[in-house]
């Protein structure tokens, strides 16, 4: 489907004639249901909530060292400061926590493991007093040797970040190596690697380096906790994961007598997530503070620097690739070693390593493959989910490598990709079968869009033009039993409220859920309200991550809508004696195929029922609930080969191409055109898919052109601000962005849909690196590919 054409279609799509597929609401670019709230400034984010004069504020005492033993902690001066209510340390919070592995502490009590780690918190009546109090807490440290590099962390004499690793509990599909810094080692072994390399005409081996990155949502993390006199804990958090947070709060604070029913998490709109607000980071501190100071709400608001150094960061990786290819362009073997710098705590980051390890072949069929994806502890801040979840990182090396090998063999890199592209039914690296996908169509459309094969010349003789095309794939990385659920209830006027716990993080989830229900119930989205969750009221959703909620939560909403529809049909059949199979919904009414004059508006019966001939009322409030669990998934495979399970539910695939202008002297790069085709199965709202493409591409280009986190040798982050961590401005947009939607339906997706949110940023790094190589003949193997690197490499090449 061509998005450019769709754009010209009328906006009131919900009321237009049915499309060829019969859909009236799904597949239309309806306006967002959260639009007016957001652009009028009425939308409330966590820090906007008002708590009255009783609100207390917290400030942290943080470690200045990357690795040190806490010798003493003196809070007395802070406690004496007027306005300080309490100074809280880890003494009362000894339970470790984590999402996939319990390796994290609420406060460091004995050892600090990264610069910025929380040691204590000062709770005060005013934010200024809290900060002044924090400055008065005296901590004595004994510095310990630290390790900052994931490869050095594997050396025998490396300092150990977690000597007690062997005692930590974790999910059964993690394989830590106690006595080392390896927190998890995902192995994949399929086929015969040696034989594969023998069959190859060219074997190329090289190393690619990817640094750490920050999400840079414009809203920082914030959390407010209230532990009331009745023993109930309410948390207001800026979160992608309200239910996961509730679970972690309840488990971690179990010793205070909390059960899950006593913990309530309320999540408002969030000012950008990108994975950074998944799981639990600083929110656990606010929860602990609430317990420590019962009866008053306590706010913890991260400043921008803390947002950089004490939330999840994207993992850095050193990627060693050895690949074998025949003259005909078939990949015969891939040996991929990924050394991940996962930081001081890896309770979430280790799953990034796992996900990348399972899928490191990229969207290609590779019969002989070995992957070692190693999650390594370092004394840098903890890493976790970041839009792309490991795929951007390994694709930089893999897609650079593929273009290099094709070029060295004199093959066309695009033809090479077509030849090796994965097909439905192909065996995946872990042994399961590939889902239906449109990767070939994506390649072909992108190829055409960037006029692949046509060499272009810049009008400016100082500049050269390069082109590149790469492929991508990604699967939701989630536990095999990550489920979604939905409630749906009608109101008197026939409008509907939907309760889900999938989070609106900017992607448009609320609108898409309204469209899914609207399609089933013949309602325009303007008659449907979907809001952000409160775990007391809304049903369960694991987390809003992995680009899986359109699929998972969408399935639950669809089932809830179908259940409500079924109840409507049952009622009408019972009261009006019409055969259920002849009933259908249209224009907010129940209609009957065999009785054209029958039309019962929703508003006439969805709350108060239908009056029968005897003047009694039948029915009552119409509601529906839906649950979705991927019952075919399993994370258990052989630890030595990765074979046997079905850890990934499906892959979304696609392709992207670029026309890049590069200044030979300055290295400055201008994206003249970028096209990205993604197979979203079914675009429930094409304009929102386009939004993901345009926005995701710029975030992706930023990681390759401008951004990276810089640490000094002591483990201190040197650029925890937007002055020196450069996220793009409007001046830095590509000149032309062409989103292309491919629709090869996902059999188990709602109306065939699968996720698309993360995928749009993951091809960017190899796109730039390959286009620079095409333009100037220089190959940059470390991210970011800044203009400085390009200019200096080009200068060196000229000599």
């Amino acid at each position: 489907m061509d998005l450019q054409k769709l754009k010209t279609k009328p906006r009131k799509a919900a009321r237009t004639a049915p499309a060829a597929d019969g859909l009236k609401v799904v597949g239309k670019s309806v306006l967002r249901v959260d639009g007016w709230e957001k652009i009028k400034g009425a939308a409330q984010y966590t820090d906007d909530l008002q708590f009255g004069p009783g609100l207390l504020y917290a400030a942290l005492v943080e470690s200045p060292h990357a690795h040190a033993r806490i010798k003493s902690l003196d809070t007395s001066a802070a406690e004496k400061l007027g306005g300080v209510v309490k100074v809280v340390t880890g003494r009362n919070f000894t339970q470790k926590f984590g999402l996939y592995m319990n390796d994290r502490y609420v406060f460091a009590t004995d050892i600090v493991r990264f610069v910025g780690e929380q040691v204590a918190a000062v709770v005060a009546t005013d934010p200024k007093i809290a900060l002044r109090g924090a400055a008065l807490v005296k901590v004595e440290y004994e510095e310990l040797p630290a390790v900052m590099d994931p490869v050095k962390a594997l050396e025998k004499d490396s300092p150990l970040v977690h000597p007690d690793l062997g005692t930590y509990s974790h999910v059964p599909w993690f394989f830590p190596k106690p006595g080392t810094n390896i927190a998890h080692w995902r192995k994949i072994r399929k086929g015969d690697l040696e034989k594969g390399f023998k069959e190859a005409d060219l074997v190329l081996e090289d190393t690619y380096y990817v640094p750490r990155y920050a999400h840079c949502a414009i809203e920082t993390h914030s959390a407010i906790g209230l532990y009331d006199a009745s023993g109930r804990l309410t948390m207001w958090t800026s979160s992608q994961s309200p239910f996961t947070q509730r679970h972690v709060f309840a488990e971690t604070l179990k010793s205070f007598g909390l059960s899950h029913k006593d913990v309530r998490v309320i999540s408002t709109y969030i000012g950008g997530g990108f994975g950074g607000k998944a799981g639990v980071t600083m929110e656990i501190i606010a929860a602990a503070l609430a317990i420590a100071v019962p009866g008053r709400p306590i706010k913890l608001l991260w400043n921008r620097a803390q947002e950089f150094y004490n939330t999840y960061q994207r993992l850095g990786v050193t990627a060693k690739i050895k690949m074998g290819v025949t003259k005909a362009g078939k990949i015969t073997a891939l040996d991929f070693k990924l050394h991940w710098d996962a930081g001081a705590y890896v309770e979430y980051g280790a799953n990034v390593v796992n996900a990348a390890g399972l899928s490191a072949s990229g969207p290609y069929r590779v019969d002989n493959i070995s992957v070692d994806s190693m999650c390594t502890y370092t004394n840098l801040p903890p890493c976790g989910a970041y839009r792309g979840f490991g795929y951007s990182e390994f694709l930089f090396g893999l897609e650079s490598h593929i273009t290099r090998m094709a070029t060295q063999l004199g093959l066309d890199p695009v033809e090479f990709r077509k030849k090796n592209a994965i097909k439905e039914g192909d065996i995946l690296p872990y042994g399961a079968h590939m889902n239906p996908n449109g990767i070939r169509e994506a390649i072909e459309k992108v190829e055409k869009e960037i006029k692949w094969g046509v060499k272009e010349k810049s009008k400016d003789p100082r500049k050269a033009i390069g082109k590149a095309l790469v492929c991508f794939w990604k699967s939701p990385a989630m536990p095999p039993n990550a489920s979604s659920s939905a409630f749906l209830k009608f109101n008197e006027d026939g409008s509907v409220n939907i309760l889900v716990s999938g989070m609106e993080i900017g992607q448009g989830l609320l609108t898409v859920m309204a469209q899914v229900a609207g399609e089933v119930l013949a309602l325009p989205v303007t008659k449907i309200r979907v809001e952000t969750p409160d775990t007391d009221r809304n049903p369960y959703e694991w987390q809003t991550v992995g680009s899986h909620v359109t699929w998972g939560c969408g399935n639950a909403v669809k089932r809830a809508a179908l259940e409500a529809r079924e109840r409507i049909f049952d009622l009408v059949q019972r009261v009006h004696c019409l055969d259920k199979s002849t009933l259908y919904l249209e224009d907010e009414c129940v209609r009957c195929r065999t009785k054209p004059d029958f039309s019962l508006p929703f508003r006439d019966f969805v709350i108060n029922g239908i009056q029968a001939d005897d003047h009694t009322f039948k029915g009552g409030p119409i509601m529906g609930s839906g649950v979705f669990m991927p019952e075919f998934a399993s994370a258990i495979g052989d630890p030595e080969t990765g074979q046997g399970g079905h850890p990934n539910v499906h892959y979304t695939t696609g392709s992207a191409g670029i026309i890049l202008e590069v200044d030979r002297e300055t290295g400055k790069m201008k994206i003249k055109k970028v096209a990205l085709a993604v197979d979203c199965g079914k675009a429930i709202n094409p304009d929102l898919v386009k939004g993901q493409v345009v926005g995701g591409l710029l975030q992706g280009f930023a990681t390759v052109l401008y951004e990276d986190m810089r640490y000094n040798e002591k483990g201190r982050l040197l650029n925890p601000n937007f002055s020196d961590y450069k996220i793009p401005t409007v001046m830095d947009m590509p000149e032309v962005v062409v989103p292309i939607i491919i629709e090869v339906p996902q059999p188990d997706g709602p109306f065939g849909a699968r996720g698309v949110g993360e995928h749009t940023m993951i091809p960017c790094a190899p796109l730039i690196a390959n286009a620079v190589a095409d333009a100037l003949g220089v190959r940059i193997k470390s991210m970011p590919v800044t203009k400085e690197k390009v200019a200096l490499a080009a200068k060196a090449a000229r000599k």
């Binding site: 906006r11 306006l31 957001k38 906007d48 414009i218 900017g506 345009v694 409007v730």
Partner: protein, 156 residues
Amino acid sequence: MKNHDIKFTLNGEQVALSVEPSDVLLDVLRGRLGIKSPKVGCDRGDCGTCTVLLNGKTIRSCLALAVEADGTEIVTLEGANTTRKWTQKLQKKFHEKNAFQCGFCAPGVILSATELLEKNPKASKHDIKEAIAGNLCRCTGYEPIVEAIEETVKGK
């Protein structure tokens, strides 16, 4: 440290309050006056999400002391929503074009665009980019924002 009694016009209403010299305008607007559309983003003038109009010009309210507001006229999106013609036209286009995702930067972007169009109703694409170059958006990739402002200029 002496407190200062200040008076200013906030969204058309007179406000009088006592502030400490070290109070930051953004914090006073949000914490004491309940004005929540200017957001805390970077707290050092880099991101533009705290944008307010001071005497008709956009400023970073995170970089102004509250005491400096004495005698000025401050308009935030809460006020511009109903009183500024260009704000309303922009909002309509922002909605149509999906010129926001998470919505956190939207108040600042819309006020920056309002300042531009009040000064220059025929702003070019370059003028538009220049005007909102200090408003960071991590979601949209900016394209729909620029389109929305362009279409507002064209009166489409």
